[in-house]
Structures are given as C-alpha cells and as structure tokens.
C-alpha cells in the first residue's frame, strides 16, 4: 500500500521538535539590549529632518525648480522683446511721428481744460511746419540719390575714357584693320606659292611647310585668331601656329584658269588665289562663287558683278608689284 501525499504532509507537520536545552532562555533574557525609541518623536524628527524631506522630494523638486527658472527667463525675455519692438516702432515713424509727439505733448500740457484759439492755431502752425520740413527732407534724400547715381556714371566713364558709342566705333575700326592684315597675309602667301612654283616647274607645293624658304611664320596667323600664336621658326610649326587652310595639297599647276583657291581664312572668310589675288570675305558672303572640280576649289566671279564692275562685297587686290617677303 503506497503512502499518499497527504500522509506525507501530515507526517511532516507532526515532525518532532527538539527540546531547547536548559538555561538557553536565561541566556537569551540576559542578552536583551533594547534601544528605547519614542516612535512619535522619531516620526516627528523624520518629518522635520530637512535631509530626509529633501531626500524624499528632490526627484520631483529639481525638475520643477528648473522648469520655473526657465519659465521666468522666457518671461523676462518676452518683456524685453516687447519693449524693443515698441522702441523700433516709435523710431520707424520718422520725423512726422516725432513732430506729432511734441504737438500731442503741447496739447496735453495745455491742461485738462479746453485750449484757447491761439494755442490751437499755434499747434496747427507747428504741424504745418513739421510737415514742410519732412517734405524738404524727402526732397533732399531724393537729390542725394540722384547725385550718387551721377557720380557712379561719371566714374564709369572715366575708367575707360570713351563713351559706349566711341567704344563701338573703335572696335569696328580694329576689326577692319585686322581683316586688312589678314588679306595682306593671304597675299604674301600667294606670292610665296608662285615663287615656289617658279623653282618647281610651275607646280603648287604639296604642303604649306614647303614655303619655309619663301616666307616667314608670322603671316601664317590671322590677327583676329586669338587662339593661335606665330611660331618662332618653321621647324616648330603645328596646327596651333597656322590659322589658314591650305587647299593646294592635291597638286596641280599655279597658272590654272580660272584661278584656284589655295588659302582660306576661317575667321574672315577671305581666300587667297593661285594667281596671287585675294578675295576678302568671299567664303562667308558668297560661298556660291567657290566651285569644286576634280577635288580642287576654284573661284568664279559672278558675271553680273563682273559686267557692272562694281562688286559690293568682295574686293580684288593685286599683289604683282609688292614686296614678296616681309619677314626677311
């Protein structure tokens, strides 16, 4: 027969209790040491003790104190901001407002009673005077602004020394001078080609580099081509030192008719012909005058223009009687 859990618990509850030895109670009584404490006095002492009070409430008091301090600071700042706004508003009213203040002060100083007619007239006169002064101040401000504007214009004019119209005329003259120098360069290049042809059975040079014995490097750069500079010698020439296109690379003779286009300026559109002539601006103004034949470019002067003998744009320049080599 198995023992039940209830029987186990009952047995445990009925466990024998060892008897205390004799004299234990006396020893326990003898060692009693009580510290008499008055509970009310202790409680009141606890309540009045600032350390215990603070120790209990400081987690709540500290944030509250900080919040109150912040609120006070914000309130003081708001008051100061309001005073400043009022000051700014009174100052922004200008002389009119400033004039109005003494008028109001005069009215107030007249007393609580009704002002006399003389005082009212004096007030009106002073207000009119203040208004007139304000108008004068405004006119002076306007004159000062106009004066400043004129000073700025004078300073701008003296910095360049010329008026805009004069600057435009000068720029136009400079451009014309550059175009003339470009045409002169093309003319000297044509002379150089013809000189080279005399030594080579009338043929045109296959490359512009073949002209190194006939002409200098300065004529290879158009004056209006600011992106290129003249080379110091022919051995250092690159595409950065030559503004003109050489169109005679396909060979041929220099005495062909109609005259063949050997050089072309991409800036001005001027062309240099195989007979030494130069047509200024033809490539841009009359591109139809340039005819392509057998891989070569020829110039054909319009018949109408040749019959009338008054070409409007292109101007034919002869080089037969000029010095062939300016750089030497």
């Amino acid at each position: 027969m198995s023992i039940t859990e209830q029987e186990i618990e009952d047995s445990l509850r009925r466990a024998p209790a060892p008897k205390a030895p004799a004299g234990l109670k006396d020893r326990l009584v003898a060692q009693v040491q009580l510290a008499p404490v008055c509970r009310k006095a202790e409680a009141s002492a606890r309540a009045l003790d600032p350390r215990s009070w603070l120790g209990r409430w400081w987690p709540a008091l500290a944030p509250t104190a900080v919040s109150l301090a912040c609120a006070m600071v914000v309130a003081v700042q708001q008051m100061e901001i309001r005073d400043l706004k009022q000051t700014i508003q009174s100052l922004s009213q200008g002389p009119t407002g400033a004039a109005a203040v003494p008028a109001e002060a005069a009215v107030r100083s007249a007393g609580a009673g009704s002002p006399s007619g003389t005082e009212l007239r004096e007030i009106a006169r002073l207000q009119a005077l203040a208004q007139r002064l304000a108008d004068e101040v405004a006119q002076l401000e306007q004159l000062r602004a106009e004066n400043g504007k004129l000073r700025a214009q004078i300073a701008a004019a003296t910095s360049s020394g010329l008026s805009p119209e004069e600057e435009a005329v000068l720029a136009d003259a400079r451009e014309k001078a550059a175009a003339a120098r470009c045409s002169n360069n093309l003319m000297w290049l044509g002379v150089a080609v013809r000189t080279w042809a005399l030594d080579n059975n009338g043929l045109v040079p296959p490359s512009i580099l073949c002209l190194s014995n006939e002409i200098g490097t300065a004529v290879l750069v158009c004056p209006s081509d600011s992106g290129r500079q003249a080379a110091t010698n022919w051995s250092a020439i690159t595409s950065a030192n030559c503004s003109y296109e050489y169109l005679g690379g396909s060979g041929g003779r220099s005495d062909e008719q109609p005259p063949r286009v050997l050089f072309r300026c991409p800036v001005h559109g001027s062309i240099g012909l195989s007979d030494g002539a130069v047509q200024r601006g033809v490539a841009k103004a009359h591109p139809e005058s340039l005819v392509q034949k057998d891989g070569k470019l020829y110039y054909q002067q319009p018949e109408a223009q040749s019959e009338e003998k008054a070409p409007p744009a292109p101007s034919r320049e002869s080089n037969r009687n000029t010095n062939p080599n300016p750089n030497r």
Binding site: I3, L12, R13, R14, A15, L28, Q33, L34, A35, R39
Partner: protein, 193 residues
C-alpha cells in the same frame, strides 16, 4: 495572537524589557527547534538561537509590521543560519536514529508504533534534499509557517516556495515508495537479527 504579538513588539520597541522577555518565551523554543534540525549539534543550535535574538533586538526599531512577527523572526533565524552555513560549517544529515529519538508529542503510541520507521525514513529523506527545498520544508511543515510567511522569511516569492515544496514532496514520495517496496521484498529489514 497576531495582535498580541504586535503589541509585544511595539512595547519592546518602546524599551519594555518585559515585552522582550515575552517575545523570547513565545518564540525561543520554535527558533531553537528550527535551528537544531538544521545545525549539526545542540551547541551550534543554541549559539545560533542567541545570534538570532541578538539580531532581533538590533533590527527591532526598523520593524515596520508589513509581515507577521513569526515570519519576521523566522526570517532572521533563516538568514543567521545561512550566514553560519556559508562560514564553512558543514551540516551533517540527521540520521533515522536521531529522528526516532525525537518522538512527536502529539502522536498516539499506537500510531507511533505503526509509523515510526516510515516517519524516521521520511525525516531522514528531508535532510537529503537540496538546501532550498529542505529549508522550505523546515519552515512550512516543521515550523508551521504559512506559504506567505515562509516566502517572507526566505525572501522569495510565494510561487517559488510552492515550487520548492512540490519538488520536495515528489522526491519524498519516491523515496518512501522505494522504502516500502524494499521493506515488502525483504521482511527482515525492520527486524534485524
């Protein structure tokens, strides 16, 4: 009972020596029995009892009355015992002969004759439990504390006490069943030659 004990405590806090003696008379035998079952000998149990009451007088001003007086004093005794046990004082298990020499006062002679062997085995098995379940059994069953008082004395939750007691009862149940089976198989177990 609780009110009278609380009045004794209040009087003792106020410095009443008679009230302190009343507390000693009410609790010293229970405390001694509790410590004697756990300690190895009478001298240690008496010493621990004196330490317990010395500690009671020290902490008496801080007693707030949130627990019963019994659980409070048993808690002090329990912690005094734990401190003493941690001080490298090995405890020796109470043998069945020791338990047989401690007859329960409220048990009838015929019942005692019938259950003496089984009870001695039961109490000896309690001593073989792990410390926490064993001390829970001591406080709850031997000392008669409620589950709440036991939990307060040990400083743990009531659910923890229930769990420890459940472990202890299961272990004891198995032990007793094994002892009964071995006694049935070997009739000469309880009648040595």
């Amino acid at each position: 009972m609780n009110n009278s004990l609380n009045q004794l405590v209040e009087a003792a806090r106020a410095g009443d020596q008679t009230a302190a003696v009343g507390l000693i008379e009410h609790f010293y035998e229970r405390v001694y029995a509790f410590l004697r079952r756990l300690a190895s000998n009478e001298a240690d149990a008496a010493d621990l009892t004196q330490r317990t009451f010395s500690r009671v007088w020290q902490v008496l001003p801080s007693f707030a009355g949130r627990s019963s007086v019994a659980s409070w004093i048993h808690g002090i005794a329990y912690h005094v015992y734990v401190d003493w046990r941690r001080g490298n004082y090995p405890t020796e298990s109470r043998s069945e002969a020791w338990w047989s020499a401690c007859p329960a006062p409220d048990v009838q002679p015929d019942e005692l004759a019938a259950r003496a062997d089984l009870a001695a085995t039961l109490y000896a098995s309690v001593e073989q439990l792990e410390p926490d379940p064993r001390e829970s059994v001591h406080l709850h069953y031997y000392q008669g504390l409620t589950l709440q008082e036991t939990a307060e004395a040990m400083g743990v939750a009531v659910s923890t006490v229930k769990y420890r007691l459940r472990l202890a009862l299961d272990h004891l149940h198995k032990k007793l069943d094994a002892a009964q089976v071995s006694g049935t198989d070997c009739p000469s177990h309880h009648s040595p030659h």
